[in-house]
């Protein structure tokens, strides 16, 4: 783990801890992930005490370019964002992709479904001059050190990750899918209710947020490291869930793009026969 300047008054077991200088940035996004962090009144002061925040548009007027960790929310959908992102990379010791848009393109990448992006632009913006291109995750342009998944991110998880960063501990993401957390809450399986759910293939860490509220998982956190998508696809088809409905779900946040591309290719070839 990269070390930070020791400017902190905090210590743990007698070891002084650094208070890293942190900046938040937003590319194409709703800034909802950043708002999540402010939405946490109970622990906000403790969170702020861990970090020296030098730039955070949602919460302060001042803005400095002297930072060690950059949290970048949003996907890249414009040429100037590419440039901005490269500058952030050059400055930051650690670049964190914050939320599904930054990690996989998020809901923004839904427009990539259309082959003719000029037509999309025309439909949405009319004749208004807008610079827009295919929506892509940060990792398409720069090296990303850490990804924080979710739409929106789960603030408790961000707090744990930031605490680990400050302590210099390895940041660990769950290696198991959402089903583990869903079963631990003893929910009724959404499949028993006839609903599709991506819980069996989506990376956990959200505490089965949606399934616990009887909404099947949409895969906002992307695939678990072991995701048997072929099998889950077959299971859903067996249960009478249409291919269109499955694709809508798999394509929503961009985490399953590879599998979707293969599937479309395969189905397209089948269709030609």
């Amino acid at each position: 783990m990269k070390s930070f300047a020791k400017t902190s008054l905090k210590s743990f077991l007698g070891v002084p801890l650094a208070r890293p200088r942190v900046a938040f940035f937003e590319l194409s996004s709703c800034e909802g992930c950043q708002l999540q962090l402010l939405n946490n009144e109970a622990t906000l002061l403790e969170f702020l005490a861990l970090l020296e925040i030098v730039r955070f548009r949602e919460g302060m007027k001042e803005a400095s370019d002297d930072y060690e960790i950059a949290f970048v929310e949003g996907s890249v959908t414009r040429k100037d964002e590419e440039e901005r992102l490269r500058n952030i990379r050059a400055q930051a010791k650690i670049v964190v992709a914050l939320g599904s848009c930054a990690c996989f393109g998020g809901v923004n990448q839904l427009k990539n479904r259309f082959h003719d992006l000029e037509w999309v632009k025309q439909e949405v913006y009319g004749s208004w001059p807008v610079d827009t291109q295919e929506a892509k995750p940060l990792s398409a342009f720069i090296a990303v050190d850490l990804e924080i998944y979710g739409c929106p991110i789960k603030k408790e998880e961000v707090e744990r990750i930031v605490t680990d960063l400050v302590l210099g501990q390895q940041v660990r993401h769950p290696q198991y899918p959402v089903c583990m957390e869903c079963k631990a809450q003893e929910n009724i399986c959404l499949f028993d209710l006839g609903e599709p759910c991506l819980g069996p293939v989506t990376r956990a860490g959200c505490d089965a947020w949606c399934p616990s509220n009887r909404l099947g998982c949409w895969g906002c956190r992307g695939p678990a490291p072991e995701a048997n998508l072929t099998q889950l696809y077959a299971i859903m088809r067996d249960r009478g869930i249409s291919q269109e409905r499955i694709l809508d779900r798999l394509e929503c946040f961009g985490g399953f793009a590879g599998f979707v591309a293969d599937l479309k290719k395969e189905k397209g070839e089948e269709g030609k026969e």
């Binding site: 905090k10 210590s11 743990f12 077991l13 007698g14 801890l17 622990t43 403790e46 969170f47 005490a49 861990l50 707090e159 744990r160 930031v162 605490t163 302590l167 660990r172 290696q175 198991y176 899918p177 089903c179 583990m180 079963k183 631990a184 003893e186 009724i188 399986c189 499949f191 028993d192 209710l193 006839g194 819980g199 069996p200 293939v201 678990a224 490291p225 072991e226 048997n228 099998q231 889950l232 299971i235």
Partner: protein, 351 residues
């Protein structure tokens, strides 16, 4: 064993007598897409909501003894920087629990957990503290199509309960296995069973035995599993497996876990947290340095079967599986114990 009978309407009185403790029983959790009721064990507030005729619950009751997540210890650090940290351990046994209406499979599951977690060289005080506070009332069941407890020898239960009830016409036939149960029944209008009731009870046993459909052939199974360790059929099951850990989460006897250390954001407290884990999960056999002993799905799935049906049998002369069928019922890929074992037994047999 002492036997008594009491009128069925007296059961609610028994419930009331036990109500000062926390009563856990089978309740209706909801309905599936076809309108069939779904059951689970949960804290019960009144006698009328108990569903003693439940087929099987979605989840086992193990989380009352082995919570999915539990702090093994917590540490507090004084802010003065003196380094005089303090450790706290809480076994998490708050109130006596009454389990009202457990089937033989689930009581047998607790008996098996006892062998590992209480009777081993290192008894688990977190489990033991909760187990010691439990009062268990068993209730006979109607075998479901997926139940294979009879193959595992867990369709009946001889110990591990305080009271076991079998409904016979207008009475409950009660097996009494603890002094607390005996004294409780003294407060009901209880009597000795007569010859007719003895016959009815035995008839009931015969009728129930005839209802089992699913089965697992267990003879020589440990040897066959050893011989078929490399059988290609494991890879077929591995291709189906979602590696989601659901089977272990709903299993009444899966007790494997991982431990994580967590530090609070203000650095004044830290916790060592235990989380029930599953050998089907990708990183179950990952070790320091990054090596994973079982990176492939089929090797992990196989491991679960070898622990249940081979390793445990060699150590305790009984299987760790109680045949409750929950894993197969909750597996989206429809991987069931009877089918997996049958496929492995069939391996190599056609040469």
């Amino acid at each position: 064993m002492l036997f008594k009978v009491f009128p069925k309407e007296e059961l609610s009185r028994l419930y009331t007598l036990l109500a000062p403790d926390r009563i856990i029983g089978p309740l209706t959790k909801g309905r599936d897409q076809h309108g069939h009721p779904l059951y689970d064990f949960a804290v019960s507030r009144n006698f009328a909501e108990l569903r003693l005729d439940y087929g099987q619950t979605l989840h086992s009751l193990k989380n009352f003894f082995l919570p999915y997540r539990e702090d093994l210890c917590s540490f507090s650090f004084p802010k003065d920087g003196s380094g005089n940290w303090h450790k706290e351990v809480d076994y998490g046994a708050f109130v006596p629990l009454v389990f009202f209406g457990l089937h033989p499979c689930d009581i047998n599951a607790l008996n098996k957990l006892d062998k590992v977690l209480l009777e081993g060289r290192y008894p688990n005080p977190f489990y033991g503290a909760k187990r010691a506070k439990a009062f268990i009332i068993g209730h006979s069941c109607t075998p479901q199509p997926f139940c294979f407890c009879r193959s595992m020898g867990t369709d009946t239960v001889l110990r591990g309960f305080d009271l076991f009830l079998t409904p016979l016409d207008e009475v409950y036939f009660a097996e009494i296995a603890s002094s607390r149960a005996f004294h409780l029944l003294e407060q009901l209008s209880c009597r000795e069973p007569n010859d007719h009731e003895h016959r009815r009870y035995r008839q009931q046993i015969t009728t129930r035995e005839s209802l089992f459909e699913a089965q697992v052939e267990t003879s020589d199974l440990t040897k066959i599993l050893d011989l078929e360790f490399q059988a290609p059929v494991w890879q077929e099951w591995g291709r189906k497996c979602l590696s989601c850990g659901t089977c272990a989460q709903v299993c009444p006897t899966c007790y494997c876990y991982g431990v994580e250390e967590k530090v609070d954001m203000d650095f004044t407290r830290a916790h060592k947290e235990k989380m029930l884990y599953s050998c089907n999960l990708l990183d179950f056999a990952s070790v320091s340095g990054g090596h994973n002993f079982r990176p492939q799905s089929h090797t992990r799935l196989k491991y679960r079967y070898y622990h249940k049906h081979r390793g445990f049998v060699e150590a305790f002369e009984e299987s760790l599986c109680v045949g409750c069928g929950r894993c197969g019922q909750s597996c989206l890929a429809q991987i069931t114990v009877p089918e997996v074992i049958a496929s492995v037994r069939a391996s190599g047999g056609n040469e």
